[in-house]
Amino acid sequence: MFDPYNIFDWAFLVPLLPALAFVFVGLLGPRLKRLEYGGWLAVGFGGAAMALGVTLAAEEMLSPGTYTDQQYTWLSLPGNGSGAFPNGFSLVVGTLVDPISALMLIVVTVVGFLVLLYSIGYMHQDRGLPRYYAELSLFLAAMNGLVLSDNLLEFFLFWELVGVCSYFLIGFYYEKPSAASAAKEAFLVTRVGDILFLLGIFVYFSTYATRGAAGGWAANGFPFVQGNAPYLAGAMGGHSTTLTIAGLLILGGAAGKSAQFPLHVWLPDAMEGPTTVSALIHAATMVAAGVYLLAVASLFLGFTPTDQLAIVAIGGFTSFFAATMALVNPDIKRVIAYSTISQLGYMVLAVGAGFAMVGLYHLFTHAFFKALLFLAAGSVIHAVGTQDLFKMGGLGKPMRITGFAFLVGGLSLSGIFPFAGFWSKDDILSSVYGTLATHPLYWPFFLMALVTVFLTAYYIFRAFFLTFSGSAPRDPGLGHAHEGAWVMTGPLLVLSGLAIVAGLLPFAHGFGSLLPGAGIPPNYGSTDLLLSGASLGLAGLGIGLAYYLWGNGRVFALADSSPAQPVRRLLLRRYYMKDAYDAVGTRGVYGLARGADFVERYMIDGTVHGLERAFAGLSDRLRKIESGVVLDYAAFLVSGLLFLLLFLLVIGPWVASNGGL
């Protein structure tokens, strides 16, 4: 029931406020005197949503617990005592605030607000500003709704909505064919994941519904209220195959959204959208929704050991795989995009190994430092008008704040003490390391994750040195760069602060209750210390190598005859996976469609036309009988009479005398 004095019952306003902004900006934005006004309107609503979101999170810290408020029955099927669903069910849409959704709420509303503000400066020349703000507001509404969902179906509803917002925002510069194509690719690849996710929901649903969940399930449809996991384990006794399949299907959905191998191809191409969109959607929030889903599923629904191994394998492999592609890419945004895939791989790895909270910890810190990196990159792109690292250089002097912000983001990403990324990444490595004794199959994926620490530090500092070190841009045509307005630098500084301190928050009093179990494990020992030292050493090595090859304006060029050239080409071509998908998609499926169309036109419709021609031809012949000569008709008459006589007098009696038909 709705209680106006309970702040958690007002949680529905967090998605609703940006939704109102979507309606207002979408309808009124183009008619306002200045396009920025629409932007400020969206910023206002986003700010209000942030205030409420952070308040909710604070309340949650003060009194941890699960607060649900189910406001609306979306669809209900009454039971008729028999048939498929004898008791019927009703699907409810409501809000649920618990520690992890409060954590996500902070990430989404804070980063969302900062990006909205930053965009005022970044997008100010764009004619499509109202459209941009409308779509971004809709995204924020959907993302907040997703975070606050109290059941899997509602989660899926918003999951699809954030997907379509991402589609529109990737294709924001729709006149560019590459942007339109990237938007389509993103939608389709994630859709493959969504289909699997939907099937996973079906499996969970019917498992609960048909195995007689007396109370909660039948009444509420799809709740993932805490405490379902033990129930499920009980109900699933002897049905672990079904549970394994459901877990794998959920993993498929998460892999689509969080760009995990083999559904990762869309995320680098999604960089066709505005950089602010990349920061918010394709780094901090939407792509993290897959990890959030996995965490929620592992906490409330439970995974079988097979599922866990699959998740660990996908996560560990993806972190390494994506990092290798970031090593050689010449595009500043794509380097960060590959880094996002790689870091999401870390989170998936942690969740798979059974440390959902640790994965969410990394999600939390990553959101800030990755949004920071993207916004800093956006600031650079805004200033110089290119994304090609090899044209930049020497930007550190004119753009001190941006350079500082990128440096903080890079150090945090590399996991350097005491930046935010250090704490969460180290937590992941030591947690997973702790499971190796009991799960030796995790070893290769742990090692991949460890090597990735080195790769990460190398590629992000390669980008840093190429952009900011040296004396002047390598392409003299870039003009003189300058720092953006306060709306751009302000968010950069705030995010820099967060990228430094966010890692320490779980240790803070109160805040830790949002992430129970994350932070330094209680039995932190010498092995963990050794592991931290190793990862710090690897990161330092990576930074050193980057400095050696690219520092001070140096440009390292691989010799043409070098045996590493084929590897470089392979990495630049993204292991040919996109080409393979394109081939399957265009030549395979489209070819199939063309073939089917041919069958349709010439065989199915051809049969119809053939029948038509056959009948027309037959009647053309038959009508020749109608000569118009009276004598012919008389002849027919007489032969008909004779036939009747023959039948009545000869055939009939003969049949009758032989016992009838």
Partner: protein, 488 residues
């Protein structure tokens, strides 16, 4: 007790006749008639109570009326009408589509009196089909729909209209005859005392298994041609492509629903045993329609053909939802028919407007129209997204229900329709990528955004798409008051 449904029928009939006679004022008469009819249907929904099932288990109907018509010693034919949760959403759909079609084609200049009269007559026929509860009455209305549609295609259609009109007529007529024979055999083999639903209900259900199996298969063929089911579907793309926009809207929005409605009302309710034993056949046909419609749509260059094939795909899902024979499946089937009525109407209007604006519907030669026609492009996007099943738009709850019911009955076979959802998304997105986005190309000078009647009609449909997407309960709470649930 007022003869409510007859009053509605007569008011629509009077409006239709007046429209035919109104000459230049026809559009205003048609507009008035359809608005009045929509109001009446609204009142119908507001006052609807379903009386439930009588003592002998025969479902009763709301607003029921029955007057004897032809009475012979061995045959009772009556004018029997009534409504329940299955027909009411479709009646509402009829009223909505009638209004938006009239609004959309408000500036029709070629023989406007005949145009609007025929549009109203088509809707009159559909309304009659949805309320008839007597075999002969049902058949009369069923055939009545055919004639105005034949003329709508044959006179106002595109270049190849005669071929398309004839193909449409012959195909659906063959279907009608098979259907009539199946219905008559049901009545005569079961020795039913009368042709009305209540008289048929008990005796038909008592028919032997073999008889029911054959009769249900015959009904599948008869009603299925209207659906349409693969491989009896090739009339649909031709009819849609050649039909004028208003004709396509009614064709996709209403005429296809007649098949689904008939199969539920006369097939599923009268011959439940036949349905259960025909399930393998139904699944095969439904999967074939889903796969074929979706895959072929991918290869189309003509926007209308693309939407037509996607209709085959969606109606395949409707058939699947009927075939699984569960309460959820039927709920989803009716909901999906309503959803498809709204969404396909929107998409055919979009295709018609693209044709008016750019003189062509060729996806491969018109590019980047968004800056020139933002309103039209928005409509394309909303229609496509609704059709590919985006949540918060009308198709999603219906498709979700249908697929969940399928999963519940036949398990992992549901992967077939699920995977085809990706293909459905692919052809819509690819169409949008080519037509809406990219650099402008193939756009004639002076191409302007849609005119106000078209924009108004499409906006109404968009509003409904969002409304029912967010609040599907508005419809499902009506649908559950029907024999398949037994909830009064």
């Amino acid at each position: 007790m007022l003869p409510t449904l007859s009053i509605l029928l007569l008011s629509l009939l009077a409006g239709t006749v007046l429209t035919f006679l109104a000459g230049k004022a026809a559009r205003w008469v048609a507009l008035g008639t359809s608005m009045l009819f929509l109001l009446e249907v609204g009142a119908l929904l507001a006052n609807f109570t379903w009386p439930g099932v009588n003592a002998s288990g025969v479902p009763q109907y709301g607003f029921a009326e029955s007057y004897p018509w032809i009475t012979l010693p061995w045959l009772h034919i009556s004018y029997t009408v009534g409504a329940d949760g299955i027909s009411l959403p479709l009646i509402l759909l009829t009223a909505i589509l009638q209004l938006v079609t009239v609004v959309y084609s408000f500036e029709e200049t070629r023989k406007p009196a005949a145009w609007f009269g025929l549009v109203l007559l088509t809707c009159l026929g559909c309304f009659g089909v949805f309320i008839s509860l007597d075999i002969l009455l049902f058949f009369l209305f069923w055939e009545l729909v055919l004639i105005p549609m034949f003329f709508l295609i044959g006179y106002w259609g595109g270049l190849n209209r005669r071929y398309a009109a004839l193909k449409f007529f012959v195909y659906t007529h063959v279907g009608s005859i098979v259907m009539l024979v199946a219905l008559l055999v049901t009545a005569f083999y079961s020795h039913a005392p009368s042709f009305d639903f209540a008289g048929l209900y008990g005796p038909a259900q008592a028919l032997g298994v073999t008889t029911q199996v054959f009769l249900f298969a015959a009904m599948l063929l008869g009603f299925g041609i209207k659906f349409p089911i693969v491989p009896f579907h090739t009339w649909l793309p031709d009819a849609h492509v050649e039909a004028p926009t208003g004709g396509s809207v009614l064709l996709a929005g209403l005429l296809l629903k007649l098949g689904g409605y008939g199969l539920i009302r006369w097939g599923l309710e009268l011959l439940p045993t036949g349905l259960v034993h025909d399930q393998p056949l139904l699944y095969a046909v439904a999967f074939a329609s889903i796969i074929w419609g979706s895959v072929i749509a991918l290869a189309q260059r003509d926007l209308k053909r693309l939407v037509a094939y996607s209709s085959i795909n969606h109606m395949g899902i409707v058939l699947l939802a009927i075939a699984v024979d569960s309460n959820l499946g039927l709920l989803a089937a009716v909901l999906l028919m309503f959803a498809h009525g709204i969404v396909s109407a929107l998409l055919f209007m979009v295709a018609g407007s693209v044709h008016h604006t750019f003189g062509s519907r060729d996806i491969a030669s018109i590019h980047g129209i968004t800056p020139r026609t933002p309103v039209l492009s928005t409509m394309v996007m909303v229609g496509s997204l609704a059709s590919l099943g985006l949540p918060a738009l009308i198709s999603f709850p219906a498709e979700f229900g249908a697929l969940l019911a399928t999963w519940d009955r036949i398990g992992y076979w549901v992967l077939i329709p699920l995977l085809l959802l990706v293909v459905t998304a692919a052809f819509y997105l690819w169409m949008m990528q080519r037509m809406l986005f990219g650099p402008m190309e193939g756009v004639p000078e002076g191409a302007r955004d849609v005119r106000w009647p078209e924009a108004l009609a499409m906006s109404l449909l968009v509003a409904l798409t969002v409304l029912y997407g967010i609040l599907p309960g508005l419809l499902t709470n009506v649908i559950i008051h029907s024999p398949v649930y037994g909830l009064p």
